[in-house]
């Protein structure tokens, strides 16, 4: 099969999977999922509330958030030329987590009237805090690495920032144990809070990020040759890398602010694309976004229905499935 045909088949497959999973997302409820139950629900008086305001935005939101994570994963793997790079590598996850814990702790302290500033901090919504925290974490990494010129320094700084900010989150949680429950929900990831306003934000984010990523795709292609060769082709790498890191941080931060930390989608989506129909970055970035969207939506449908009427945190499911996939991949590579 030619490259073009393989890519076309993947695109069609992802489009079809998206449609089917969106339908499944609408049908998935407390009793598992069934189209007959959906048809009955749509005829009833609660259709607008349950389908229109809960299941539909949740499914669309999961698709969009997965798209942002898939795109961010492909950007990270292209930027670091490392197939194990994931969108949380530069401190965005730990930054978002710390900010969420800080707001939760502030809410608790403000309730007890303990710190005047806590009241102000608690007014900051969790989503805004997570977004700001993610960007703050990446900014700290950039400051530590003194810019984005050196990939290795950037990676090391990201690891250090991740460890330090996670440590601070732990410390804060120990000091204010009331924040523990909320932190746990955030760390496990959830699509349960997604409404139409979240969808609007995520959709706008994806609409802005995709064309920008496409414009930067040739930089990622050129980096395949190594940094010196890319520079010899007239690319202002320092500036372009900063743009790529900014885009990566914004896409990750936006997804995390709406769904919490959903693991492995950003790591697995580009892998899947490269495995089925590899190609240059202009195509891989868009296809990884679509694959991430499908993966997160699929995980959401399964998380809602696997032990219905209970729900599994979607991040747990993606971690288990994504981790198993990577183990399988490693094993396969060893065998070959």
């Amino acid at each position: 099969m030619s490259d073009r045909a393989a890519r076309l088949r993947l695109q069609l497959g992802l489009a079809l999977a998206s449609l089917l999973l969106l339908m499944a997302g609408l049908a998935a409820g407390g009793d598992g999922w069934s189209l007959a139950a959906l048809a009955e629900l749509l005829r009833g008086p609660d259709a607008q509330l349950i389908v229109g305001q809960i299941r539909a935005p949740r499914s669309v939101g999961a698709w969009l958030a997965g798209g942002l994570l898939g795109l961010a994963g492909a950007l990270a793997q292209g930027l670091f030329r490392n197939p194990l790079a994931d969108p949380f590598l530069l401190g965005s996850a730990s930054g978002a987590s710390l900010a969420v814990v800080a707001v939760l702790a502030a809410g608790s302290l403000a309730g007890q009237g303990m710190l005047p500033i806590a009241g102000m901090l608690s007014q900051l919504g969790l989503a805004a805090a997570a977004f700001g925290g993610a960007l703050g974490g990446v900014l700290l990494t950039l400051m530590l690495a003194r810019g984005a010129q050196h990939t290795l320094r950037l990676l090391l700084a990201g690891v250090v920032v991740g460890v330090v900010l996670t440590g601070l989150s732990d410390l804060l949680t120990l000091a204010v144990p009331e924040a523990l429950r909320g932190r746990q929900v955030f760390m496990l990831g959830s699509t349960g809070f997604l409404g139409w306003d979240s969808c609007l934000l995520l959709g706008l984010g994806l609409l802005c990020a995709l064309p920008l990523a496409r414009r930067l795709a040739r930089t990622l292609d050129a980096l395949v040759l190594g940094e010196d060769s890319a520079r010899s082709l007239g690319l202002p790498l320092a500036r372009l890398r900063l743009l790529l890191v900014g885009l990566l941080a914004a896409a990750t931060g936006l997804a995390v602010s709406q769904t919490g930390l959903v693991a492995f989608v950003g790591l697995a989506a580009p892998h899947l694309v490269r495995r089925i129909a590899p190609g240059p970055h202009a195509y891989t970035l868009a296809a990884s976004a679509a694959a991430g969207a499908v993966l997160l939506l699929a995980a959401d449908v399964v998380a809602r229905t696997l032990i219905a009427p209970q729900e599994l945190p979607v991040g747990v499911l993606t971690a288990v499935l994504g981790g198993s996939y990577l183990l399988w991949l490693l094993n396969r590579q060893r065998e070959s």
Binding site: R81, R215, L216, V224, L225, G226, D228, S232, G234, L235
Partner: protein, 254 residues
């Protein structure tokens, strides 16, 4: 006539150690081979000439203008560079890789036109890699990959070509083919290549001999003084003797 590329009193340090000490060279049209023992500073000189390394002192002049005065894309259109042990991994096909050579002309947003496609075709034909244009880089051997990387450098169609060990990983027939190609390119522009293989280097128009970051000798391939310097720098491990119309270096095993 102004030399297309010229270094004046060039000093470069890597990791705090000075690798080039006040090197001054004029690289005129034709093919110049840079040779020298390991650690002589050959690749460092080539990278400094390409503007890829910060200089501790001195200046590089491209067509009579200081290198720093050139915009990065403008410079990239005038100097094509091939890395030593060039990397090329990932999911690009051979043709997509060679097309990257047109980036200095297109920028990040430009669309390749007929002229770009012709340049890519010509580069792939020159390095005999057109037959596997749709193969992926990971499916190529080291030698095949090296030829694709050379094609990528040729696709720039720059008047100055800086090639760091372009014959690495190649089998003898392809080494000879690359030498013929460099001789032909030397008649059209300025080609500078680092080579470890002295017999191949002696097929160049001129040879620049480095040792410990300094130019020891420079001359045409048939100059006796150059031959003497080569034998001395390589501790008499090679002998230079005439083979047909050219000279060649032969290992001195006695």
């Amino acid at each position: 006539m102004t030399a297309p590329l010229r270094a004046e009193d060039l000093s470069v340090a890597l990791g705090g150690t000075t690798v080039l000490h006040g090197v001054s060279v004029e690289l005129r049209p034709g093919w110049t081979a840079i040779v020298g023992p390991n650690g002589a500073g050959k690749s460092t000189l080539l990278r400094a000439l390409a503007g890829l390394l910060p200089r501790r002192a001195g200046q590089v002049w491209l067509q009579g203008r200081p290198l720093d005065d050139w915009g990065v894309r403008e410079r990239a259109r005038h100097i094509a560079w091939l890395a030593q042990q060039g990397q090329a991994q990932g999911d690009l096909t051979v043709r997509e890789l060679v097309q990257l050579g047109r980036l200095p002309h297109l920028g990040l947003l430009g669309t390749a036109g007929a002229q770009d496609e012709r340049a890519v075709d010509a580069a792939m034909q020159a390095t005999e890699c057109a037959a596997w244009s749709q193969r992926r880089l990971q499916q190529l051997s080291g030698g095949e990959r090296q030829r694709c990387l050379l094609a990528r450098a040729l696709a720039v169609q720059a008047p100055v070509l800086l090639l760091d060990e372009p014959t690495t990983h190649l089998d003898p027939p392809h080494q000879v083919a690359v030498v013929r190609l460099l001789q032909r390119l030397g008649r059209q522009g300025t080609v500078v290549s680092v080579l470890h293989d002295l017999p191949l280097a002696l097929q160049a128009d001129r040879v620049l001999l480095l040792r410990s970051g300094r130019v020891v000798a420079e001359g045409a391939h048939d100059e006796v003084a150059l031959h003497a310097a080569l034998c001395a720098v390589f501790d008499d491990a090679v002998r230079i003797q005439r083979v047909g119309s050219r000279f060649s270096a032969i290992p001195n095993l006695q």
